[in-house]
């Protein structure tokens, strides 16, 4: 009895410590974003702002942050939609349609996870320039999709393999075509895994920096991370301004995660427990 209570108490202590470790950086960033530049240097970094100043946010918008926001949104959502469609279709074919080289195709997809991003920078830059997509937002979508597909196919095939084959057989007897089975049965049933893939890729693309740095040159086409990077240069040591950019860029992702966290967790743990 006592041992049980102590165990529960220790669990709560552990959770509390973990909450502080995970939550404090965010609180620090938000706290700093509300300070003036002078205040940041003259007071302790742990102190609360003397008064809540939202001036930094106004400055960020004036500096073109909304533009970066829209650019990032366009590229991220386009890439995520494409990845979900392509990865779901590929996973359906790999897991549900029997053909001789299905395992090989799967291995080729998954092998993509082992390619370091930096080894692809020069080839991607050259290809993008050759096909005339350099310094365009569309030019970012292709590499993002290619970069996100391997892990997405890996997650989705794992999930789709667990969908009972009887579902598909029932649909076949009911006269559904392969395409109808995919769109009306397999795709909706894979919703948790699709949310996982979508959120996972969305977070990566939202924060993506390297491809954006080498494929985009005009400030009007910068994404959020390039904008933040530029803040650092433009404002020198204006740390509160950089923190403001971080908060603005993190909010949409946090909101999305809060809404869909159940789906994401279900997708991640699919097959781990017998339902």
């Amino acid at each position: 009895m006592l041992l049980g209570k102590i165990t529960i108490f220790l669990k709560y202590i552990f959770c509390l410590v973990w909450l502080v470790i995970a939550g404090y950086p965010f609180i620090f960033v938000f706290n700093t974003s509300l300070k003036e530049r002078r205040e940041f240097f003259t007071t302790s970094v742990w102190s609360s702002p003397e008064s809540w100043q939202f001036q930094n946010y106004i400055e960020a918008v004036k500096a073109g942050f909304l533009r970066y926001f829209l650019n990032t949104g366009f590229v991220t959502f386009s890439a995520v939609i494409l990845i979900v469609i392509i990865a779901a279709m590929a996973s359906y074919v790999i897991t549900r349609i029997e053909f001789k080289y299905s395992n090989l195709v799967f291995l080729i997809f998954v092998a993509g996870m082992m390619i370091p991003i930096h080894s692809t920078l020069i080839p991607v830059y050259r290809v993008t320039r050759t096909i005339g997509l350099y310094n365009t937002l569309t030019g970012l979508i292709g590499p993002y999709v290619a970069f996100g597909l391997p892990i997405s196919v890996f997650i989705l095939t794992g999930f789709m393999r667990d969908i009972p084959p009887q579902m598909e057989e029932a649909a076949i007897i009911d006269g559904a075509s392969k395409f109808q089975i995919f769109t009306k049965i397999i795709f909706p049933l894979s919703r948790p895994a699709i949310f996982t893939v979508a959120i996972y890729n969305l977070v990566i693309f939202w924060n993506e920096f390297v491809y954006a740095l080498i494929l985009i040159s005009s400030p009007g086409k910068w994404n959020i991370t390039l904008g933040l990077w530029n803040f650092q240069g433009r404002y020198g040591t204006n740390i509160p301004m950089v923190m403001t950019g971080v908060i603005i860029s993190a909010v949409p992702v946090i909101i999305l995660y809060l809404f869909f966290q159940d789906q994401v967790i279900r997708g991640m743990t699919a097959g781990a427990l017998k339902e």
Binding site: Q166, M167, E169, A170, A171, I172, I173, D174, L189
Partner: protein, 357 residues
């Protein structure tokens, strides 16, 4: 004939012995058939071959005299006019009852009004009125089963096949659903094939039972024929309990010499005098009779609710190898026999069934 199967052979790549070996079977229109056998005997494979979900290695399948499988002919499942209820029902969890049932109508070239009428009438037939907007997860096992049956019946199939449909239901619901499902099938006028390994279920729901073992048909017949006149040792022991004895046909056709002595037997066999045979006797057919010729001692008793199963040790005739032979008999729970009590038993000749040579 609705279904005709000729010389069906099916072997799975990972298995040495065939899942189905030379199956010949005809199913008449309106029949309710049960494929009965232990797990792995090939009954589900047979169902899947008829549905077109698998291809046989050899043999031909005809549905309503049209060849659907064999001789390089292959008709896909959706064109075979068969409906199927899967063991786990295979309901689409993201669709509600109405959408599940309507799924089968999506490619049918009928008006929306006709589709609606069809769905409403089938929902009424299976007794799901008022539940059409519920999701499968919100339904009980019995209700889910009725949705699966409605989905199988909505296209007016020539044949509906049900793969162990009552397996996932508890005992009470199982017997209730057996009655309900057979009533619905009778009302719809469809031919039906059930698959089960439950002998009681097979005997109670169908008008023809096909007993299978190791990929082969052991016996076909009415439930009464299968139960009372098993033709093989396997059927005798699988369908109800049986005492299997070996013996020799006596000089007269109606006698058989067994370790229990000379017994009178049924005469509907074509064995010659002196032929070695096996015979089956159901425990419930062995009567306690003070003038009975078989003397035995109670070895053990097991209470089974409606009856008490007793094992009786019978002293065998002197020319047999083992001095004792055990017989299972059923006593009524009111009988006050104890272990070690001596009993005299008799077996009516009509219940001594010759099963093989």
């Amino acid at each position: 004939m609705i279904i005709n199967l000729k010389n069906i052979l099916k072997t799975y790549p990972e298995c040495e012995s065939p899942a189905l070996n030379n199956i010949n079977l005809s199913i008449k229109s309106g029949e309710i058939i049960t494929l009965l056998g232990p797990s792995g005997c090939g009954k589900t494979t047979l169902l899947r071959l008829i549905a077109g979900l698998e291809k046989p290695d050899q043999g031909e399948i005809y549905i309503k005299n049209n060849q659907v499988t064999g001789n390089q002919i292959w008709v896909p499942p959706e064109k075979r006019e068969v409906g199927m209820v899967f063991q786990d029902f295979a309901l689409f969890p993201h669709l509600n009852v109405q959408q599940n049932i309507a799924f089968a109508l999506q490619n049918m070239k009928i008006s929306e009004e006709q589709k609606k009428n069809k769905i409403n009438s089938i929902i009424k037939l299976v007794g799901l009125s008022g539940l059409s907007s519920q999701n499968p997860a919100d339904l009980s096992g019995g209700q889910q089963q009725r949705v699966a049956l409605a989905r199988a019946l909505i296209q007016d199939p020539l044949l509906v096949m049900l793969d162990e449909p009552f397996n996932n239901l508890d005992m009470n619901l199982r017997s209730k659903m057996q009655k309900e499902i057979t009533n619905i099938i009778h009302k719809s006028g469809t031919t039906a094939v059930f698959v089960t390994h439950n002998q009681k279920e097979a005997l109670s729901i169908s008008n023809k039972v096909i007993v299978m073992d190791k990929g082969q048909i052991e016996q076909k017949g009415t439930p009464r024929q299968i139960y009372e006149k098993p033709k093989t040792k396997f059927v005798a022991s699988f369908v109800g309990q049986s005492n299997i004895l070996s013996g020799t046909i006596g000089k007269e056709k109606n006698t058989v010499i067994t370790p229990l002595g000379r017994l009178s037997c049924r005469t509907d066999h074509n064995k010659k005098p002196g032929t070695r045979v096996d015979l089956s006797i159901k425990p419930e057919d062995i009567k306690i009779n003070s003038s009975g010729s078989i003397q035995g001692t109670i070895l053990s008793q097991k209470y089974k609710g409606q009856y008490v199963e007793a094992v009786i040790s019978i002293k065998t005739s002197s020319n047999t190898k083992s001095p004792n032979k055990n017989l299972n008999i059923y006593l009524t729970p009111d009988d006050s026999y104890k272990k070690g009590d001596k009993l005299s038993l008799s077996i009516p000749p009509k219940n001594v069934n010759i099963i093989s040579s």
